[in-house]
């Protein structure tokens, strides 16, 4: 290890060299980091997905005009589209004409099978600029122009799914919190064992006037290295799994799978995990050692 990074007391080997906690601690921290990385990535991806579901996707609705008389249908469609476009709180009002609808149903019916005589509804997509506005008013206005028209709000389809995604997101967050707490507990147990192993040495240093922070620094240094090694191992394994899963999801193409993705900020957060693990380790060590030292005068 680079000499200048070491606390002075470490250079003097006040505590013996050698593997502490049987060398298992970095691996345990590594496994915990792996789980925390997955939970963090899952939580962030799901929260992006949930935002998409409750955001853009669920703010849209579709008006279907099911009128067998083509002339009347065209007339009603134009009237409703004009009414919707006139509203200031709506955007992206798009009329799906006959040709677009035929293209949509063609995969199911086969090309050339859709004759002019097949009655297709007319559809108008629209999106609320913010939130979901007064659907009842739209409903009323649409019915006044076309009594047989139906309105589909996308939110009604997405709401249960959004609920599931929200639950999964909080599950991921809880797993992350549990993993962090478990890691801190394991580190604290290991530090307590080390404190009693090195109890006589610490007491001797204490009698000779060593400050608490000098003694704590010896432990922090040792454990920071183990935390960093474990953090790096775990984060690399976690990132590998996330990239594989990301590629698998990517094969579904756009749509909802496309929304479940990580932002650059998300990737930065994942890359920072080993440092956070090392910091968590140091903090745990400092608290545990400090508590023990304050028990003696």
């Amino acid at each position: 290890m680079i000499a200048w990074l070491q606390p002075r007391a470490q250079r003097y080997r006040f505590l013996p060299e050698g593997r502490w906690a049987g060398g298992a601690l970095p691996w345990i921290i590594g496994m915990m980091t792996f789980l925390a990385t997955l939970a963090l990535a899952g939580g962030m991806a799901l929260s992006n997905g949930a935002a998409a579901l409750t955001g853009g996707l669920s703010r849209s609705f579709t008006v279907q005009i099911v009128e067998p008389n083509p002339d009347l249908k065209r007339e009603q469609t134009a009237a409703i589209a004009a009414m919707l476009r006139a509203r200031a709180d709506l955007a992206d009002v798009v009329v799906l004409g006959d040709s677009e609808l035929r293209a949509l149903v063609e995969p199911w019916l086969g090309s050339g099978n859709i004759g002019e005589e097949l009655p297709l509804p007319a559809m108008i997509d629209a999106r609320w600029k913010t939130g979901t506005g007064d659907m009842a008013a739209i409903d009323e206005a649409v019915r006044a122009l076309a009594p047989t028209a139906r309105i589909d709000t996308h939110a009604q389809w997405f709401r249960p799914l959004a609920g599931v995604v929200e639950v999964l997101k909080w599950l991921a967050v809880s797993i992350g919190v549990l993993v962090v707490a478990t890691t801190a507990a394991i580190v604290a147990l290991s530090v307590r064992a080390a404190l009693s192993t090195h109890g006589p040495t610490i007491e001797t240093l204490h009698i000779m006037g060593a400050e608490d922070r000098t003694v704590a620094a010896l432990f922090e240094y040792r454990y920071a290295i183990q935390g960093l090694v474990g953090g790096v191992i775990g984060a690399i394994a976690g990132l590998a799994v996330i990239i594989v899963i990301g590629n698998l999801l990517g094969q579904f193409g756009g749509g909802l799978a496309g929304e479940v993705s990580l932002s650059p900020l998300g990737w930065t957060a994942l890359a920072a995990v080993p440092l956070l693990v090392a910091l968590l380790t140091i903090l745990t060590v400092r608290i545990t050692v400090g508590r023990r030292l304050r028990q003696q005068l």
């Binding site: 080997r13 006040f14 001797t204 006037g209 060593a210 400050e211």
Partner: protein, 239 residues
């Protein structure tokens, strides 16, 4: 002549047990040499523990270096401990460190520069006859050598006060005499010395020494000379 240690009505109990020290009151002038005697279990080690700040008294007041240490916050104590040298009954050498590194501990804890540490430790090791054992670990040192390492460690940082618990307990009479001579030399150089011992015959080696007798936790001081000691003769210090 200033007072370096002052006990007033000090009592000590461990946990909820009976008091192992009762009504201890004495004054130690800077530069004094004091023997602490008493039968086993009389409380010698307990009194020394109060002196090297490993323990707070359960009652009474202790002043050291002109400060009331019973009311000082914990954080102020390490700096005071660095002015105290201690030879413990069981040496407490650090097993994984060489004789050199053990002796260097107090200097390194105090943050002394490494070049200075090396010079001081090498000089003292030569003086106590351990130059050949520089890189030996405590496990391979003889009892007498370990004791000399412990004593060298206690004095390396030139403490204001040196405390020794049975420092002649594990060595032959000849070595005991030499160690006491070392303490006497340090005392002549100005260090206040407190030595707890069973070996009453050694006390005659330091004629200027005062004696604190403990009997089952109480001080035997019928004349009250320890509460109001005579000043240390300046002539003794300049010897």
């Amino acid at each position: 002549m200033s007072t370096i240690v002052r006990f007033d009505n000090v009592g000590l109990r461990y946990g909820t047990g009976a008091e192992v020290l009762r009504d201890i009151g004495f004054r130690l002038e800077t530069g004094a040499f004091m023997f602490l005697v008493g039968s086993s279990g009389a409380g010698k080690t307990s009194l020394l523990r109060l002196l090297y700040l490993a323990q707070r008294p359960s009652r009474g007041r202790i002043d050291m270096f002109g400060r009331d240490i019973t009311s000082l916050p914990r954080t102020a104590l390490p700096a005071l401990r660095r002015r105290i040298g201690v030879v413990l009954q069981d040496f407490r050498l650090i097993e994984h460190l060489t004789a050199f590194d053990n002796i260097a501990l107090p200097l390194r804890i105090a943050g002394v520069h490494e070049a200075e540490v090396k010079a001081h430790v090498d000089e003292l090791m030569a003086w106590v006859g351990l130059a050949e054992r520089r890189d030996a670990r405590p496990a391979v040192l003889s009892g007498g050598e370990q004791q000399r390492v412990a004593i060298a460690r206690a004095v390396i940082a030139r403490p204001d006060i040196l405390l020794a618990d049975e420092p002649t307990g594990n060595v032959d009479p000849e070595m005991a005499g030499r160690l006491l001579h070392l303490f006497h030399e340090l005392n002549r150089l100005g260090t206040t010395v407190v030595v707890a011992t069973h070996a009453l015959h050694l006390m005659s080696r330091v004629p200027s020494a005062i004696t604190l007798r403990l009997d089952r936790g109480e001080m035997l001081d019928p004349m009250g000379v320890l509460r109001n000691p005579p000043p240390v003769e300046p002539a003794e210090l300049s010897l």
